[in-house]
Point group: C2
Chain length 335, copies 2
DNA sequence: AATCGAAATGGTAACGTTTTCATGAATGTT
DNA sequence: AACATTCATGAAAACGTTACCATTTCGATT
């Protein structure tokens, strides 16, 4: 039998299709002895229920969309992993979509998600315009964003507590004697990058160190930007003794720039990254950085989409915050 | 209208549902003027056809499964990207499954794929047992494997031409004057790792350099294995002047070990990796390595699953080979 | 003894498409 | 002028489930 249907199972077990359906979906409603017969039939025939059919009639697809900009960006795989692990654990499947930072592809992703009738979408990319959000909202597709610019009614937003980790980083640096601390930001249009910059400034002010805008230079969250930024910092009259980067890629670019200039990390300059991507532990020397757990991000995103059956409390705020934490490796040293 | 159906579109455009279906699927069969009316209705209502419904009736889901062992492994994201790009280009969606090297999870993946009635599965992981393959084969689900151990009738296998790149690497090393060349292999149970080792040996023999089994040591395709392996190589009476690694992670471990021993790469020892993962360009110094294009791998996998509509020739052999190529960076130097 | 409720099951109508098959209308062919 | 052919459309039957409404049986309650 190539593709047995519920009918074949039913007739083999000498019950109705309804009963077969019930043994699978609501076992409590069927007699133990009958259930046994049904399961036997299911296994003998190697029956697998047709998801398209059940989706059609039940209205739920048990399918969750996950939209990222570029799966090749080392930030995302772990997010996906965290999300997938808990999703399949709960019986959901994962539909992946990449936007490649292209609004057109993004629209395509949304269309595909809607056509598949996904039960929810996690949108981990920023190039999402309002028109597309409306499209999903009108269809009442649950949505969750990552650090979105403007929170909206009925749309979950998972927020990152950048402050905690950055405070730790600054505490660490100050404890090592650093006072002239630089910062290389991310692209200005990225909300999360701005939050990081602000958190840095605020954290510094706790020690009465006021903003010196020559020490804050713009990067692009890529290696190239880090290289360019550190070059500007190095040609300053009075150089910073330590620099924080808005993400690890930037920090890596910075390290290369510093070393290319014949200086040493952390001998001549301490460096702290952000994210703790997998690569961070393999730089030379291993990068001190602020860890943002991407698997946790993924898990939270899932839970924002499908509410816990247990707790009916609208834990919509508290639970959607993920913490950051300093990981000390070898790119920081006393002044 | 929250979720318009084909019926709403039909009545608004004053045609039958059949005609609506045709304007979407086979535009050639419907009058231009009618089509226009239908499209207008579709857009006004924001109608998106229900994939579950069309899958059910058409028997094809336009869904492709992609099973990897661990999306966090830097090898996979690019494979996925290559696969996804061409798949969505052809109107397919992507269902991701991770096995975490766990046979049980693997079985779960297969079950989910079958239930979703995927139109094909690309299996990029080795822990696939025959029972599961049979399960898919019985259902006539097209399958493609990556470098599988034993090719099977009716199952596509995409093969990597390791030889070409490894030959290039050896040529390069020999041209630089190296003769004592070591090799750190992958785990012994991995077929592809064994092929790499054999290719290395064969390549060496082209220069009349016969196998010296003290120079071939076992790794595990991880950083740790590279570290352990290089330690053994370093304590040899006569050290190799160059070492090839079975993958980049191993090479990175080796570099760390060499540098930790107070030696320099490539000053004291040349190192060549394999794969050219994204990280390779960021090591210090940047790693010379043999590139295996993972995006190409993904693309080939797709084409093995859904045959080109244009060419009906069974291009099942030739097209499923992907080449490798030496990328010279800065970890090799004349002896 | 009559009634009720719960437990176990079945019949059948959805669900939203595509796929036959059928029907006219128009065009071309002899 | 009669007859194929093609073109454009529609009606209705699938597709494989689950949801809803009965029905039957049986022990418990009054």
């Amino acid at each position: 039998m190539a593709k047995p249907t519920i009918h074949q199972v039913a007739s083999r077990a000498k019950v109705s299709t309804t009963t077969v359906s019930r043994t699978i979906n609501t076992p409590a409603l069927v007699d133990a002895e009958t259930a046994e017969r049904v399961w036997a039939a299911i296994e003998e025939l190697e029956y697998y229920p047709s998801e398209p059919a059940r989706s059609l009639v039940s209205g739920r697809s048990r399918l969750l969309g996950l939209i990222v900009s570029d799966i090749t960006n080392p930030f995302f795989p772990e997010v996906i992993k965290g999300f997938e692990d808990v999703a399949v654990g709960q019986g959901f499947d994962l539909l992946i979509g990449s936007t490649d930072y292209d609004p057109q592809k993004m629209a395509g992703c949304v269309r595909r998600m809607v056509e598949r009738r996904v039960d929810g979408v996690a949108i981990m990319t920023s190039e999402m315009d309002n028109h597309l959000i409306d499209q999903l909202a009108r269809r009442k597709v649950p949505m969750v964003f990552l650090d979105v610019a403007t929170p909206r009614e009925g749309i979950a937003n998972i927020a990152v507590n950048y402050e905690s980790g950055i405070d730790e980083a600054i505490d660490h640096l100050v404890a090592l004697g650093h006072r002239r601390i630089g910062f290389v930001s991310g692209p200005p249009h990225l909300k999360s990058a701005q939050i990081r910059r602000l958190a840095f400034l605020r954290s510094l002010s706790r020690y009465g160190i006021h903003e010196d805008n020559r020490l804050v230079v713009e990067g692009d969250h890529k290696v190239e930007g880090g290289l360019a930024a550190i070059a500007r910092l190095l040609q300053l009259g009075v150089r910073p003794t330590a620099v924080l980067a808005s993400n690890d890629l930037t920090a890596i670019g910075m390290m290369r720039g510093i070393q290319a200039a014949g200086l040493s990390v952390p001998g001549d300059m301490s460096v702290i990254g952000f994210d703790d991507i997998w690569l961070a532990q393999f730089t030379d020397p291993p990068l001190t950085t602020v860890r943002l757990s991407r698997t946790e991000l993924g898990e939270r995103a899932f839970h924002a989409l499908v509410p816990e059956p247990a707790a009916a409390h609208g834990g919509t705020q508290q639970d959607l915050m993920v913490e950051t934490k300093l990981v000390i490796r070898e790119t920081t040293r006393p002044i």
